[in-house]
């Protein structure tokens, strides 16, 4: 298999900068070139995207009923007052 100048370890280290658009153009191009033929890194990038998407589900956590009842009570008091 052909190898390039970018190490897999660097891809892992630079991934958030890559997602954030914070990499210089040359480095971004080198990373994307590496992804073209490195299956491990391609899978890692996809895993990270999935992980970020699933972390977004923190917005679906349950609020305990007593807490919800309490803040709704405060809301009704404000609206009625």
């Amino acid at each position: 298999m052909k190898r390039d100048d970018v190490r897999c370890q660097e891809v892992v280290q630079l991934l958030s900068d890559y997602f954030e658009g914070a990499l210089p153009v040359e480095q971004r191009a080198a990373l994307e070139q590496h992804l073209l033929f490195c299956e491990g890194c391609t899978n890692y990038v996809e895993q990270m995207r999935t992980s970020i998407r699933l972390t977004g589900r923190l917005q679906e956590e349950d609020v305990p009923s007593p807490v919800m009842d309490k803040v709704l009570e405060m809301f009704r008091e404000r609206s009625g007052g």
């Binding site: 190898r3 190490r7 897999c8 370890q9 660097e10 892992v12 280290q13 991934l15 958030s16 900068d17 954030e20 914070a22 490195c38 299956e39 491990g40 890194c41 899978n43 890692y44 996809e46 895993q47 990270m48 999935t50 992980s51 970020i52 699933l54 972390t55 977004g56 589900r57 923190l58 917005q59 679906e60 956590e61 349950d62 609020v63 807490v67 919800m68 309490k70 803040v71 709704l72 405060m74 809301f75 009704r76 404000r78 609206s79 009625g80």
Partner: protein
């Protein structure tokens, strides 16, 4: 290409055709949504308020835990924040999103409480330095420097071949919550706000008083740990990871 005149043209076209014309002072986009949400709360729309609480209260508690000593105190801070939000709702001007505004009130409340408890700030340079020097990936994930494939994967990284219903299971949801909650404080705050609540890097830097670079380092560390937790869960479930 941004067309500055487009909104005016659209508004004029709606007037011409007798269609709906928005309130003149209602901003568009995300800001518009926040403004409408705040208006709903001001009108006493309890369903809208309950939905907002459901969406952000757990993240508020999580963010507060980075400043105070216990989860119980963090819960108190989050509830005190709702009191302040309801008191100050008329002062919300829509210059930030509603939830960013609420998180700002929360951070101020939590800081005050943290100072009272003499808790050190999680965003001091010393704390950040400590979090940044913790190992990210296990050292044996890559070949050593003396290996001909130095720095390349020493272990296979197969695709997560999990069906969507598996990915969206409540059990995996709890795994992710626990992974985020177990992160060092500054990483926890950044991951919860960026990935958990979809705030922008600019909003998070502003809210937590971080530089862009520090914010990215914390986000990266935190994301690496959360990904590893999902990989470990998938491994236990017998899914190839």
């Amino acid at each position: 290409m941004v067309d500055d005149m487009a909104p005016r043209r659209r508004a004029e076209s709606r007037r011409d055709t007798g269609g709906h014309v928005p309130q003149p002072r209602t901003p568009g986009g995300e800001a518009g949504r926040s403004w409408q949400e705040a208006e709903a709360l001001r009108r006493g729309d309890q369903a809208a308020f309950a939905e907002l609480v459901r969406r952000i209260h757990p993240s508020m508690v999580r963010l507060a835990t980075t400043y105070v000593t216990s989860r119980a105190v963090a819960e108190e801070v989050a509830q005190d924040t709702w009191v302040a939000v309801l008191e100050q709702l008329d002062r919300f001007e829509g210059r930030s999103s509603l939830k960013t505004w609420i998180f700002r009130i929360l951070v101020n409340q939590a800081k005050t409480r943290g100072v009272r408890e003499r808790r050190t700030t999680p965003f001091s340079s010393l704390s950040l330095q400590q979090e940044a020097t913790e190992p990210g990936m296990p050292p044996d994930a890559f070949f050593d420097d003396d290996h001909r494939w130095a720095g390349h994967w020493a272990v296979p990284v197969p695709a997560w071949d999990m069906p969507e219903e598996h990915l969206l299971s409540a059990e995996l949801g709890r795994v992710i919550q626990a992974a985020v909650d177990d992160l060092p404080p500054a990483q926890r705050a950044v991951v919860a706000l960026r990935d958990g609540q979809s705030l922008s890097s600019h909003e998070v830097c502003d809210l937590l008083g971080l530089t862009e670079v520090n914010q990215r380092v914390l986000l990266h560390r935190g994301r690496t740990t959360v990904r590893a937790a999902i990989a470990a869960y998938a491994g236990q479930m017998g899914v190839a990871v």
